[in-house]
């Protein structure tokens, strides 16, 4: 079975490259880092987005945020952070990736689903009694 790291190795057009998870994280946090392999950068965006979605889901559930506002806030923050990270922090050339839209939508649906699941779980788990009391009255 292939792991994520070896996917990156294989995608690097045959150039042998041993990027461990720690190295990739360090590069992801370095400002204006040069990304030779586009897939590697997109992978960074994809995975950080999944983690980010889950964290936001937990926060929204604990607060608890409710209604359409929660969904819109998530979409706005998620897309905004990815855009700012890619364009302002990493200074990548958006055209090389097929426009800013390609970057913004990378892994969006998956992270949205992950966000909804964690939001629903934490909301239900932590506020069940309050919700039921509010419904009964």
């Amino acid at each position: 079975m292939t792991t994520k790291t070896s996917t990156i190795e294989r995608n690097a057009n045959g150039a042998v490259k041993s990027s461990s998870l720690r190295e990739i994280c360090a590069r992801a946090l370095t400002k204006s880092e040069k990304w030779d392999d586009k897939d590697e950068f997109l992978d960074v965006i994809y995975w950080s987005r999944q983690v980010f979605g889950i964290i936001l889901g937990i926060i929204w559930g604990i607060v608890p945020l409710k209604g359409f506002l929660g969904l819109v806030l998530f979409a706005g923050i998620s897309c905004g952070v990815v855009y700012l990270y890619a364009i302002n922090f990493q200074n990548v050339d958006e055209d090389a990736y097929g426009g800013a839209w390609e970057l913004v939508k990378e892994g969006f649906m998956t992270s949205f689903a992950g966000f909804l699941v964690t939001w629903i779980i934490f909301y239900t788990g932590l506020h069940y009694d309050t919700i039921m009391a509010a419904k009964a009255s």
């Binding site: 897939d39 699941v117 629903i120």
Partner: protein, 183 residues
């Protein structure tokens, strides 16, 4: 209710792994699939590079060459989809059976409270088999689909089974858009 919710997440993790394992046995480990996948990945990358370098070129021979490449890639993509089809049927059957079993277990049970009211065309799913008209009640199937959406794709990506970006961009096989930029 909390235990039902956690149980559904657990069920969807298990079914995602089961699906991947089944696909691995039927497809991923076969030599034919590995050969085709490597070829499609290589060709997609090559085609992308070619289009980038000769994108605006009006040279007929270049255009012809790219068209030939596209044709080859399309054929390989079709073969790859056919190989995958076999497992799609098998997992389809297995999942329908499993889903109907879980559906009957969780029939009429509210498994979670939604923090939002879903839009009307989703309500049919999120309120399936539930009584009452409180649309913040969540049915099993809605939570299961959401879990599967996030978990299955992440597992596929983690294990390296997801199609490469270049390949899906160049037209994802039988049902994807035909690569016909130069036609």
């Amino acid at each position: 209710m909390w235990s039902d919710t956690i149980l559904i997440v657990f069920i969807s993790i298990c079914t995602a792994f089961l699906g991947e394992a089944l696909t691995w046995v039927l497809v991923y480990r076969t030599e034919k699939y590995q050969r085709l996948k490597a070829e499609v990945d290589k060709q997609s990358k090559k085609l992308e590079r070619r289009k980038e370098t000769h994108g605006d070129s009006l040279d007929k021979s270049v255009k012809k060459k790219i068209e030939r490449y596209e044709e080859k890639l399309k054929n390989n993509n079709r073969d790859l989809s056919l190989v995958k089809m076999k497992s799609m049927f098998a997992t389809g059957f297995a999942f329908t059976a499993l889903l109907s079993m879980f559906n009957s277990i969780f029939d009429g049970r509210v498994v979670a409270q939604l923090p939002f009211t879903p839009i009307s065309w989703i309500q049919g799913l999120s309120h399936r088999n539930l009584s009452g008209d409180d649309y913040t009640d969540c049915s099993f199937i809605f939570l299961y689909i959401l879990c599967t959406m996030s978990i299955r794709q992440n597992i596929q990506k983690l294990l390296g089974f997801a199609p490469s970006r270049a390949a899906s961009k160049q037209g994802g096989g039988l049902f994807g858009p035909a690569p016909g930029q130069f036609k």
